[in-house]
């Protein structure tokens, strides 16, 4: 029998703690709000300023000194081509590198660890440095010139680390028991990789690649450096001069005439639509192929 009964007052010091907790919670919500309110304001600004100029003229005409007649056709086409070229270049090289690192490379060797570190580093290098790389080697170095192919190659290098990292995660997610089962049947390493690991990793690889490409088509700095700044009025070709949509937006925003700034907003709407479409495709892929092992 205890001498005194236990204190069952469970209210305690609620008041002070509650207020501090509430203020803290409010500050967290405020932090969230900063990003999303800005996002919202940005979208509203872009749409209200630019919607008037979103019409077939924007999509079918080349640029012009007259804002009413100016369009972004060459830029839009170039961005589409760049996107396609990017996928064609980065996926084989990125997935190949990822397969090498995950399935073939001996982790204990110093050069393989250096390789991993190198890729992590490259992922964090500013995009303008890739532009300098392009300028020095492709445009003036081996003399490719300021052409679409050079732009595609530079963006490929820029985006490659991201694709490699995404592909590695997808490959790593394939359970080891599947590999064991395949090896135990007498399959060679490539047979196991090509017939079991890769098919299982494809949804993750596709999602990662699409997201990477959606970031790449919004890149401006490297393209500016390798010469996508010139006034282009004809459709771009692989070996010819070009200008991409983000560069066109930059050009128009820079002009003092406020109508061109609104035209830039319209072009932004088109660019955001492309980015949104790609992101939505990637997310759909990710959800649709959620594998349950």
């Amino acid at each position: 029998m205890s001498a005194t009964s236990p204190n069952v007052d469970l209210q305690g010091e609620r008041t002070r703690g509650v207020w501090r907790g509430r203020i803290f919670y409010a500050s967290l919500l405020l932090s969230l709000a900063v990003g999303f309110i800005t996002l919202g304001t940005l979208v509203v600004q872009v749409v209200t300023k630019g919607i008037a100029f979103v019409d077939p003229v924007l999509l079918t005409n080349p640029p012009s000194a007259n804002p009413e007649a100016a369009g972004a056709r060459p830029a839009i086409l170039a961005t589409l081509y760049l996107g396609i070229l990017l996928i064609a270049f980065t996926v084989p090289i990125g997935v190949g590198t990822a397969i090498y690192l995950e399935e073939y490379a001996n982790r204990n060797r110093w050069y393989n660890r250096l390789l991993e570190l190198n890729i992590q580093n490259l992922a964090a290098v500013p995009s303008i440095v890739y532009g300098i790389l392009g300028l020095a080697f492709l445009v003036r170095g081996i003399g490719l010139g300021r052409i679409l192919l050079a732009g595609a190659l530079i963006l490929t290098l820029l985006v490659l680390p991201t694709v490699i990292i995404a592909a590695r995660e997808a490959i790593r997610a394939v359970p080891g028991s599947i590999r064991d089962g395949a090896y135990a049947l007498g399959a060679t390493k490539w047979q196991v990789t090509w017939r079991q690991v890769l098919p299982a990793a494809i949804p993750g690889i596709a999602t990662g690649s699409i997201l990477a490409v959606s970031r790449a088509i919004g890149e401006t700095a490297p393209l500016i450096l390798i010469g996508a700044l010139t006034y282009i009025s004809f459709n771009p070709t692989l070996g010819g001069p070009f200008t991409a949509l983000p560069v066109q937006i930059y050009n128009w925003t820079k002009l003092p005439n406020p109508e061109f700034k609104d035209l830039a907003a319209a072009a932004i709407i088109v660019l955001l639509a492309m980015v949104l479409l790609l992101n939505a495709a990637a997310i759909w892929l990710r959800n649709h192929y959620q594998k349950k092992w």
Binding site: Y25, V34, G35, Y104, Q120, A124, G218, G227, I283
Partner: protein, 305 residues
């Protein structure tokens, strides 16, 4: 009977050279990234070395006037570095509290349904091209700052810095959130069981436990801010002003590189080589910052994996 009729030999029917070829091809893919780094180093440092044969390195690194295209050219890079740091400062002022706050909310407070909406929304913010942010800074933020009484010029460091901060929020938030969700449940449960409330658990248990990952997130955010180009190109200006007054125009290292590289500077001239000298400086800065971040990320990963 299941035994084979042919004589028992465990050597391969014909040597498996196909496997060796495949391994070589895959290693070749991996070499692309090595070549990229090599290319970057060569592209930056070879012309930079040539530059420093014409321009005194000490003058470069300590000089406070940057006017490479003038007749009496001045090559002091301090104004560019100051411009970069000034914009970065305002960016961090926005990004670090907001990013961390968002991360704490997502990791400790949000319900799973809310998380499933907010995380993709953050991804969306991260997917917005920087040129769009630049447009926004120039056409909305600068006039807005004017409207609330700040006497900012048309091009100023503050607009660019604030918008850049918002751009970096997803980077800071997602890496911090990863670090916090990696903290094991048991730590939180132990604290709750002792009668702590959510504020105490978040700030005294979770954040300290995740601190190396969180600092890595900050550092990575800083790295992105240092290297960012389009927002400053559009909104901060192209005047290499040595000032920390955010209302004035500044030129960052990245903006200078973009503006000069895009122009028709004759190949091989000193002005042309400034691109690479400044580029090398920028690269060196981000390399140091990234190295710190990668070390920190490794430390936080080791703690929980």
């Amino acid at each position: 009977m299941a035994t084979r009729a042919e004589p028992l030999t465990l050597a391969p029917p014909r040597k498996r050279w196909g496997e060796a070829v495949i391994k070589a091809l895959l290693a070749l893919c991996a070499l692309v990234s090595v070549a990229t780094t090599l290319g970057i180093v060569l592209a930056l440092f070879l012309p930079a070395i040539e530059f420093f044969q014409e321009v005194n390195f000490v003058d470069y690194i300590t000089g406070t006037e940057w006017a490479p295209l003038f007749l009496q050219a001045k090559f002091g890079v301090i104004p560019l570095i100051a411009g970069t740091l000034s914009v970065t400062f305002w960016a961090c002022l926005v990004a670090i509290p907001s990013g961390l706050g968002a991360a704490i909310y997502l990791s400790e407070y949000a319900r799973p349904r809310t998380r499933n909406v907010l995380k993709p929304a953050l991804e969306l913010l991260a997917g917005i091209p920087t040129v769009v942010f630049g447009y926004f800074a120039l056409t909305f933020v600068t006039p807005l700052l004017r409207d609330i009484g700040l006497q900012v010029l048309v091009f100023n460091a503050l607009s660019a810095g604030l918008v850049m901060g918002v751009m970096i929020i997803p980077t800071v938030a997602s890496l911090s959130e990863d670090a916090m969700t990696a903290v094991p449940r048991d730590l939180r449960d132990g604290a709750y069981a002792l009668g702590s409330n959510k504020l105490q658990v978040s700030t005294r248990i979770v954040v300290p436990a995740a601190v190396s990952g969180i600092v890595a997130a900050f550092v990575l955010g800083i790295s992105r801010a240092i290297g960012e180009t389009m927002i400053v190109l559009l909104a901060a200006g192209q005047q290499p002003n040595l000032t920390f007054d955010p209302k004035q125009a500044v030129e960052t290292m990245s903006a200078f590189i973009a503006a000069t590289g895009a122009g028709d500077v004759p190949t091989g001239s000193v002005e042309y080589k400034t691109i690479f000298a400044v580029g090398a400086t920028l690269f060196a800065m981000t390399l140091v910052v990234n190295a710190v971040a990668i070390r920190l990320v490794r430390r936080f990963r080791e703690a929980y994996e």
